[in-house]
């Protein structure tokens, strides 16, 4: 089972991303849970959201405290929120930033695998908005290999209609452009 914790700010679409990812994984024949951090949500405030994906039925319904993957949608949260908290040994962190993985590794004082991609830049170019939630799904799929990009097509089309292709293009670019150090 892969457990992912997403860090973002209210309004950046972390919850939409966990939902899209779970729906797509389920459509691809896997088992998945997507859920927000329970509680009031405020635009701009730090929020978390969670994904579990497995090949067999998932029974656990408690929170995720030791994720395999942490995905940071907003790099301004680094230093504000302990984003690597509880990350499993061998766990990986993915950050939406223009910085290199080496720079983020230093910022976080973290020795594990770091991956970075300028998701906001890509989202701006592909969709004209600085909202990188769907873009970063591409980064997550590359780092985890949970499933291919094509698995996202149906749920993104269902959700975004005529804007779907732009989201898929942005996702593909993040998939291709992400830099990873182990």
């Amino acid at each position: 089972m892969i457990e992912v914790r997403w860090h973002g700010r209210g309004g950046q679409g972390a919850v939409t991303s966990v939902e899209l990812l779970a729906v797509s994984a389920i459509a691809a024949g896997k088992y998945a849970q997507g859920f927000p951090s329970f509680g009031p949500e405020r635009r701009g405030a730090p929020v978390a959201a969670f994904t579990r994906i497995d090949d067999k039925k998932i029974n656990v319904r408690s929170g995720i405290y030791e994720p395999d993957i942490v995905l940071v949608l907003d790099s301004s949260l680094i230093g504000l929120v302990n984003v690597v908290d509880g990350l499993k040994p061998g766990g990986k962190i993915i950050v939406n930033t223009h910085k290199t993985p080496e720079e983020i590794r230093k910022d976080l004082n973290f020795n594990g695998s770091v991956a970075t991609v300028d998701g906001t830049g890509i989202a701006r170019q592909e969709m004209g908005v600085p909202i990188a939630n769907t873009t970063m799904i591409g980064a997550l799929l590359k780092v985890t290999g949970i499933m291919g990009l094509e698995a996202m097509k149906e749920s993104v089309e269902h959700r975004f209609g005529r804007l779907a292709q732009k989201n898929l293009n942005a996702m593909k670019r993040a998939y291709d452009e992400i830099k990873i150090i182990n």
């Binding site: 797509s24 088992y31 998945a32 859920f35």
Partner: protein, 391 residues
């Protein structure tokens, strides 16, 4: 058979209710139930559900509206949570006294104060004696299935009682998870159209909800008690039929590795699956642990509970609500009273946990077992404890 899809549980519940071809929904939104109200109103607005979606100014009005609509012969639905349910409280016994087959989803949430929007069972427990049939869902699939079954149970001529389907707030309501949506054809085959016993109509006047003084009141209360008790036969038959048709079985009390267990834990609602993982972990260590899941809260399944726990040495009853200054949590006190006359019964421990959304992990469940096993003299039996409380 329906297709397996990923859906948020509240949306799935609203879709399931739409498959039941309700005539009317009277719902006031409240977290964490709101998505049920939103999705139902969307389905009506989009023309996908031919029903009256009545916007009301409060939950008191919502329940009043569904009582009226059900009296008029409409298949009527509502959903609420926490304070909303508390506001409905005075109407709940009226719905059952009038023998109206209303169904309601309760997205279980802690009751204020302090204000809290997260999950526990303090909203449903004060409704215990309202004369409703009360069932609990453990996961999204069960929330869907129970929501559909609820109409068939409620409307059966030998039942004619309201049903509440309890769905843990957030832990279930806000989870996107795999569910199998029954098809419209399957639901149509399972659930016949609602044929009311009597209806309110200007051309055919009847009295519903009449006045009764001491000369009749006791008899009416006895009749209602009999009705709730008798509903169990229909509940079991409906669950049998469901199992045959959809290959998913439902029982008043369900067990997991309980047959040879020395130590049992009893849960209600969404905690069951997490507890199951603790049982697996304990079994690997050689501890004969097992799980009992109480699905049917009213009518209370006395015989099934006795059968499920008769061979255990110790039983943990978990509660998600408090009976302040009382004998322990409401489930605990019910189980104890059910077993009072038994010559052979396990030592019973009560842990009150998961209040106001406090997370409960596999580790917590393992800890509960370790604690009762360590209590060799049964010193803490018959007492209750707030699990994990900071003091």
């Amino acid at each position: 058979m329906g297709k397996r899809v990923g859906l948020e549980v509240t949306v799935a519940v609203a879709e399931a209710v739409a498959l039941c071809r309700i005539d009317m929904a009277g719902v006031y939104p409240i977290t964490p139930q709101s998505h049920i109200a939103e999705h139902l109103s969307t389905l009506v607005a989009d023309g996908k559900l031919d029903a009256e979606f009545m916007t009301v100014e409060s939950e008191h009005s919502a329940m009043s509206a569904v009582i009226g609509a059900s009296g008029a012969g409409a298949r009527s639905y509502t959903a609420t949570s926490s304070q909303g349910l508390m506001l409905m409280h005075e109407l709940l016994p009226i719905a059952s006294a009038m023998r109206l087959p209303i169904t309601m989803a309760i997205a279980n949430r802690a009751v204020s104060g302090p204000l809290n929007i997260l999950n526990d069972h303090s909203d449903i427990m004060p409704q215990r004696d309202a004369g409703w049939i009360v069932v609990f869902a453990e996961n999204g699939q069960e929330a869907i299935d129970l929501s559909i079954q609820a109409f068939k149970i409620a409307e059966h001529k030998d039942v004619m009682l309201p049903v509440s389907v309890n769905i843990d707030g957030f832990q279930l309501t806000h989870m996107v998870e795999p569910v199998e949506m029954p098809t419209q054809e399957d639901v149509d085959q399972f659930l016949p159209p609602f044929v009311p016993h009597a209806t309110l109509h200007p051309a055919r006047p009847v009295t519903m909800g009449a006045f009764a003084m001491s000369d009749y009141f006791t008899e009416i209360m006895k009749a209602k008690d009999e009705a709730v008790k008798n509903s169990k036969k229909v509940i079991l038959a409906v669950w049998d039929e469901w199992a045959k048709m959809f290959d998913r079985s439902y029982k008043p009390v369900e067990t997991y590795k309980a047959d040879d267990a020395d130590f049992l834990i009893l849960t209600m609602g969404s905690m069951g699956e997490t507890a199951q993982l603790a049982i697996d972990e304990l079994r690997v260590k050689g501890v004969k642990a097992g799980l009992v899941k109480l699905r049917l809260w009213r009518p209370f399944p006395f015989a099934e509970i006795k059968a499920a726990i008769k061979n255990a040495k110790k039983l943990i009853v978990t509660d998600r609500a408090v009976s302040f200054g009382g004998p322990g949590g409401p489930v605990f006190s019910e189980i104890k009273s059910a077993l009072y006359a038994e010559t052979r019964r396990p030592a019973i421990y009560n842990y009150i946990y998961g209040l106001g959304g406090r997370d409960v992990t596999v580790h917590d469940f393992v800890g509960m077992f370790e604690k009762i096993i360590a209590d060799t003299g049964n010193v803490a039996a018959d007492t209750y404890e707030f699990w994990g409380v900071r003091e």
